[in-house]
Symmetry: C2
Subunit: 236 residues, 2 copies
Amino acid sequence: MTESSPTPAPGDRIAFDDPDYRAAVVDLLAVISYGELVAFERLAEDARSAPSLAAKVDLATMAAAEFDNVLRLNQRLSELGADPYAAMEPFREPLDAFHQHTAPADWLESLVKAYVGDGLARDFYAEIAAFLDVDTRDLILSSMERTQHSEFVVEHVRAAIAADPRVGGRLALWGRRLMGEALTQAQGVAAQRDALSALLAGGIDRPGMDLAALGRMFSRLTERHARRMADLGLAH
Amino acid sequence: MTESSPTPAPGDRIAFDDPDYRAAVVDLLAVISYGELVAFERLAEDARSAPSLAAKVDLATMAAAEFDNVLRLNQRLSELGADPYAAMEPFREPLDAFHQHTAPADWLESLVKAYVGDGLARDFYAEIAAFLDVDTRDLILSSMERTQHSEFVVEHVRAAIAADPRVGGRLALWGRRLMGEALTQAQGVAAQRDALSALLAGGIDRPGMDLAALGRMFSRLTERHARRMADLGLAH
């Protein structure tokens, strides 16, 4: 440890001495980074079909913010001695599959997907971040902030439902499909990545989650999903 | 003029008192901004088909840098009392036409287009910026900086030609086509936007270009285009 690198808190140093902990953090930062990279591409693609120049610039602003997070997460991966691209590799298939199975049919489905999908990811990663050292937790939580995003989407979706109430029914179904597909893919990732699963189970000096705690986490995620659907004017 | 806004240099204040000058600057910032917005979309699209995650992140980095310029240019347009989106509107058709007529057939054509097309635009706007007040000139010149971009493209294109020399012939033709299409569209814009043409012709307190000077500018643009083609290992 040189003088120029920040001194970690004692608990953090112990945490990173545990190779399983380090592997779990690398996995987590990499899956978030790849997720943001794909989100960048998706939002930039949506910007192409935006109905106005102003909406185009709003979407491109979101896309650029996602990409800024990719660079910060990759920098941290490099600091941890990991190759960011190699670390992302195991998550390409499940995340690409999620997006293939939830290709939006139109501009409104894109907006709902951005809002509901990113919200779910944010909540899920925030739950996991609670188990991590403070530096990693702060990095993850700051990567997840996107208020500007939210207002823009809520406004557009509510206006579309006001103009044609049938749109609400279709988008409500779409929101449920997004939730189902996200759970399917998350389950697949958890089954394949031992370090990530072990993180939730706890370790030396670190509390974990028992089945009851996992159940409570799942309830919180579902509740917040329902609240987001309600924000958009959609029945859960 | 309030105390919080920067005091312009005397020459600049005179310049913006001239409504034709202000109209020309609004046109110029708007065409550059729309050009960078389209470049953002194009690079983000290219990132989707990048052959590796590392190349994907390189292209997305360029895309995000282009978009950052859009926000800065739009901010300046707003400061000048213009609606950035309305100001961009007249340039959508010619710029979209340029991109429709020069849709890259593959990844290498994308790279050459990014390098050669952006280089041409940069040189052209830098020539015009020489006629402008210092704040506008600095904003335009700083929007045009992209060294990182260049190295990445040169490396990829040279490697592809080394692997298969026939690629060089095809890409050399492609570079000539890009130059021809850019001139066609630029001519169309100049014919339609009186304020921009008047800027080149000069005004009160501002030197302009006579036909001989226009000819020399055109030679400089062609020379630099040839140098860029050579950088890529392509015959002009």
